[in-house]
Amino acid sequence: MGLKSRTVMVIGAGIAGIQASLDLAEMGLDVHLVEETPTIGGRMPQLDKTFPTNDCSMCILAPKMSECARHDNITIHINSQIDSVIGNPGDFTAKIIEKAKYVDPEKCVSCGLCEEKCPVKIDDEFDEGLRTRGAISRYFLQSIPAEYTIDEENCLYLTKGVCQLCEKVCPADAINYEDEDKKIELNVGAVIVSTGIDPFDPIGFGHFGYHKFENVVTSLDFERMLSASGPMGGHVVRASDKKEPKSIAFIQCVGSRDESIDHNYCSSACCMFAIKEATIAKEHIKDLSPSIFYMDIRAFGKDFDKYYEKAKDTYNVDFVKSKVSEITEENNGDLKLRYVLENGDVKFKTFDMVVLSIGLQPRKNVPKLADKLDIKLNEYGFIRSDKFNPLQTTRKGIYVCGTANEPKDIPESVISSSGAVAEALKYLRLDRQELEEKKNAVPQIDETGDRPRVGTFVCHCGINIAGVVDVKNVAEESAKLPNVEHSEDLMYACSQDCMNTIKKRIKEHNLNRVVVAACTPRTHEPLFRETISEAGLNPYLFEMANIRDQCSWAHMDEPEKATEKSKDLVNMGVAKARNITSLDRLPIEINPKSLVIGAGLAGMTTALSIAESGHEVFLIEKENELGGNMRKIFYNFGNDPQVKLQDMIKKISDNELIHLYKNTEISEISGYIGNFKTKIIDKDTNKDKFLEHGAVIVATGANEHKTKEYCYGESDRIITQVEFEKMLHEGAFPKQKLKNVVMIQCVGSREKERMYCSRVCCTKSIKNALTLKEKFPNVNIYVAYRDIRTYGFREKYYTQLRDKGAMFINYDVDNKPDVKIVDEFDPDSKVNVTVFDPIMDKEVEVEADLLVLAAAIDAPEENNDLAKMLKISLNTDGMFLEAHVKLRPVDFATEGIFVAGLAHHPKDMDETIAQSKAAASRAMTFLNKKAILAEGTIAEINTARCTGCGYCEEVCAYKAIEVDPEEEVAVINDALCKGCGACVASCRCGALDLRGFSNEQLFAAFDSLEMTDILINN
């Protein structure tokens, strides 16, 4: 099949859509990112912090957003909707409607004057109605694109023909009331749907009083209240009397796990969301008493249980297992909760505030979109996909990721996005890319040996800077600085016309260094670097002085001092600029082959996915058979894992690009991204062999925990769930008729040595129990559990098993079930299980024919060796530690290495498949290039000064620096260095320097300050 298309349409620009777009764009494909709202970013920008690391949500998302906006291969269509998608995979014709924005994005400078003057005030969607916005507005401060848009439904001029104030105040002449909807037709090879979710609207739940009682808010409202950039500046007060709440109740499962509203699924994220909000609120208000009213705490993700325990122990969050039936408001605005405990007791408690932990539901317009795309929805109204094809919709060539097909947390969304990209590649033409060549590149001027000729440009940023700082004066003063050949002030330095001015001045004055005094390099440095390179300067011949954040914002009440400080910052910028030089980015050649370690479900999926995209794979398996843990899984709610497994094994043996090494061990791995070298040993012959490859995928899996608890190993009637599944499959039950089967959950999980949830055991036990019920409908099943964690759509099976009469008994970790073999001398003796049942409020004793233990998932000890060989890290549980738990869940901090499956954390088969495809896709982002460029700003060493003390080696997170034992000096691997500067800071000898931030340059900047001059200053 000759594939032609190199274009993909991604629908929905939340974190999932952004990740998918970036992956595709990095592979050299063209992306059309279609978004319904006026900005990309989705839900994440609304969040204050993200669990379990408490990272600021916007801080981790913003770089991805701006990367998305800047990428040559990504076209963003905001305010846009899908009209139709016709045709076949590989050759779809998509029609989209881009709604009129009424503001010319080429002209708009985002100064905000228009919104200030707009007489219309509407509840702001981004801040959940906690503040108002104008009819012309920017979705939020860091929205991308940054330009304003007019909301035609509310604009006075567009609806009633009056006003036009925005047009009058706009300094850039950007308002265009004549703007019209545009119809755009795209030819795309594949479509990825990442439309996300809507938060559940609790307005219909009258008994909770949302919108009726002022002090009842949703978890999303509360998130905006907590956010430092939110309408309350992070200072939480309740609406009724603007007082700080001293007690807050969080009510879980509002709109989740609720059959009465057809939401018989778990929203997966809200438990952690509430725990996070409770602890962050406690950090804001020290004497706060937060309580969480829950059915089960579902902290099933990586490091979630540790976070949960910390909330209990350190933050004293009160967890109340109960159901809240009603909330009433007292005269002073306090809220009285009526709730029912497990044993049926009805209790009342009064709180200052109530937060409803609202669930996730399909987006309102999903049925319409599904119709246009001709894809089907599932029973809950989410986009339908299946267990073994979790990213595939019902129409070929159209894929789904993020929360559009099942509620999930951010990392799973990111994983599914990269996974969907791997799927989409089936219908796309991938050409291996040459080293990136900029479009219309300008030949670079060589500045070496020339006297520095600095140009300084001071930005007004509308009134953002100029409202406080005397920008003209700063520009005039900077003209007097040594080597400054040109200086001027610009209204908006980042606007297109000002960029052109900068380029013109470079030519006119023969400038070879540029200093821009404006906002922050974090967002704008790449833009200016690109601008000066368009004028023939090396992009590193650029310096930025942040006179917005550090002067006009920080000292808004002291304009004179702010101006003086601005001058100092510009002075320092110029002093540093005089000392900067061109930097080269060295090319690193990429070997397109990859090494996949482990041939279980994860390794096989990754290997197939990479091979199907046309690259060779070495697949290494330590055992003689393929399949790993999957060999022991026989059931999956109507899907047959063994059929799937045999199918994959066949595909692997048929694929010429996959080189399979069974019964093989790895003894050595060296090298770096694009250039790894691995020594493998055949365990039979003991012969070794070297493989060369560009990427490594760690898919080494995990083991079932061998427990010593509950008399395991002392009787054939005490078995693990894995053993039980085999028994169910083979029919090898004990001889007598089964009457009572007891299951104990969390065996080894969620305790001291293993403070994590093994995630799959609840669902697995329920699955096995249902299978047993099918075979023996009259058998009694007792499940002793701590929290049932059937997240997402797995909830359905929990309901099914309860409906079939299984008894669920909640036990406490400090009062575990007691197990006794009835007759120790009888090898076939039954087993007595005693457990305290909180519902009946007494001990229950069961004579079990079978006791089935849900044993934890353990990280293999061999992980240690592999981690050392690959220079990657493990977490405290011995699982491989990804680069970032939220946004880089497949990558490692060391480039070129990825993780998939149980090696990362316990997970279900659909999640493993998604992550394995994601690993393939992440590897493809650079395997598809002939070479990549190393960073320009990397560390360098002056060996004459190095004492070889090794401090730098230990602080380097990327393993890019090592002490040569012979020479006793540190050696830097340019390809691995990320330029973070940690080694430079640690070096006491000043032997290390960061290119572009050298000691000399920084000293020059510091030294240029008049205050450092002892005599002159005093």
């Binding site: 200072h235 602080v955 000043g990 001059d1013």
Partner: protein, 384 residues
């Protein structure tokens, strides 16, 4: 792993501590336990001391284990022998507790190798300032011997940093000589130390409670004194103008850096041309401001050194001894070091096992800084 014994082994003492300790090392030689001993010895001119590595038993007689001054920090001396890794000799080295601390820091930085070294320390009475001693060695010796015999830890004639030192006794050593009520006893502080005691057939039977109590009381006084001193230092260095004023006398000789045991660099960054601005920049600046003072790098040098060294500063006070213009460098460094080390919950030289602050990441570190950020954020919130 440090293993502090609860009891000490009494050492035979006929006359003073000096002789008793010397006898002890003589005995070690007799028993062939060590190949060499590192001790201070008076130089022939009689006005200073040098560290010597003694292999010859006869020469050992001329050594003076407890020196009244500290011309070179023992850690620096030991570095010369072990910089290239463990040597061929088994060495016993006796030093002051601050020298032990410097040795520990240098060990962590791979500049000293302790594999074949057994460290001894002793209850330090402090050191006399170099300039005072050189001016009148005879009086210096007399004063020091008096301090030793009286075991007077609050003597006025010692260096300013010694007066505020609360780490003058048992440190991260293998064995420690305790002085109490005219008695001399040996306390073990490591497995190595214990083994040696066994080899020497010495029994740890002396109760240490009295000694420890005395030390603790002295420590308390020192801590109090230190707090007072730091208050004064603070007024001299807080704020940029005060800092420049205090260091205005600096002649840029960099003696403080070359005497510092922790400054282990091959070549100091501040001695290179990279740390000096271009001539045209200086001229341009002079033109711009009307004048510019030269040289420009004094403050950079001292703050730079603080940034590099304060986390490992052991307050040995050599820098002050070395300063020809009497800037209280040692007190200032000690003051800054106390704060930077507290920030990282680190104590320089306390134990070889403690990771250098930047080498490890603790989940809840920089608490105070975190609080500062939070309170700033809260204020900002109110402001808005």
């Amino acid at each position: 792993m440090n293993k502090i014994s609860e009891k000490g082994a009494l050492i035979k003492k006929v006359s003073g501590y000096q002789t008793a300790i010397l006898d002890f090392f003589q005995d070690l030689f007799e028993k062939n336990i060590f190949d060499a001993v590192m001790l201070p010895m008076k130089i022939p001119s009689g006005d200073s001391f040098a560290w010597i590595m003694i292999k010859d038993k006869k020469i050992l007689n001329n050594a003076q284990p407890l020196a009244p001054i500290m011309p070179v920090n023992a850690a620096k001396a030991l570095k010369r022998y072990t910089r290239k890794g463990k040597g061929t000799l088994k060495i016993a080295a006796l030093m002051k507790p601050c020298e032990i601390r410097a040795t520990v820091e240098l060990t962590k930085l791979n500049q000293v190798n302790l594999d074949d070294v057994t460290l001894f320390s002793y209850d330090c009475v402090g050191a006399i300032p170099m300039q005072d001693y050189i001016a009148d060695p005879k009086t210096g010796d007399e004063k020091f011997e008096k301090m030793l015999s009286e075991n007077n830890l609050n003597h006025n004639d010692v260096k300013p940093v010694c007066k505020i030192c609360d780490n003058f006794s048992l440190s991260a050593t293998d064995l420690h000589f305790g002085f109490n009520a005219d008695k001399l006893f040996l306390v073990t502080n490591s497995k190595k130390g214990e083994n040696l005691l066994q080899k020497l057939d010495l029994k740890a039977e002396t109760d240490l409670q009295k000694w420890q109590k005395a030390i603790d009381e002295k420590k308390k006084k020192r801590v109090k004194k230190r707090e007072e001193t730091f208050k004064t230092v603070k007024t001299k260095v807080e704020g940029f103008s005060k800092l420049t004023e205090t260091f205005a006398d600096c002649i840029g000789c960099h003696n403080c850096q070359s005497s510092c045991p922790i400054c282990y660099c091959r070549q100091c960054y501040f001695d290179t041309s990279a740390a000096k601005p271009n001539s045209d920049v200086v001229l341009m600046r002079a033109k711009d401001r009307g004048a510019t003072s030269l040289p420009l790098d004094r403050i950079m040098f001292h703050t730079g050194r603080m940034a590099h060294m304060s986390l490992s500063c052991v307050s040995c006070g050599l820098c002050s001894d070395a300063c020809p213009v009497n800037i209280p460098v040692a007190k200032i460094f000690s003051y800054v070091a106390a704060q930077t080390q507290e920030t990282f919950e680190y104590s320089a030289g306390a134990s070889v096992g403690d990771a250098l602050p930047m080498k490890e990441y603790k989940l809840n570190e920089l608490g105070e800084l975190g609080e500062m950020v939070k309170s700033a954020e809260a204020q900002e919130g109110e402001h808005e």
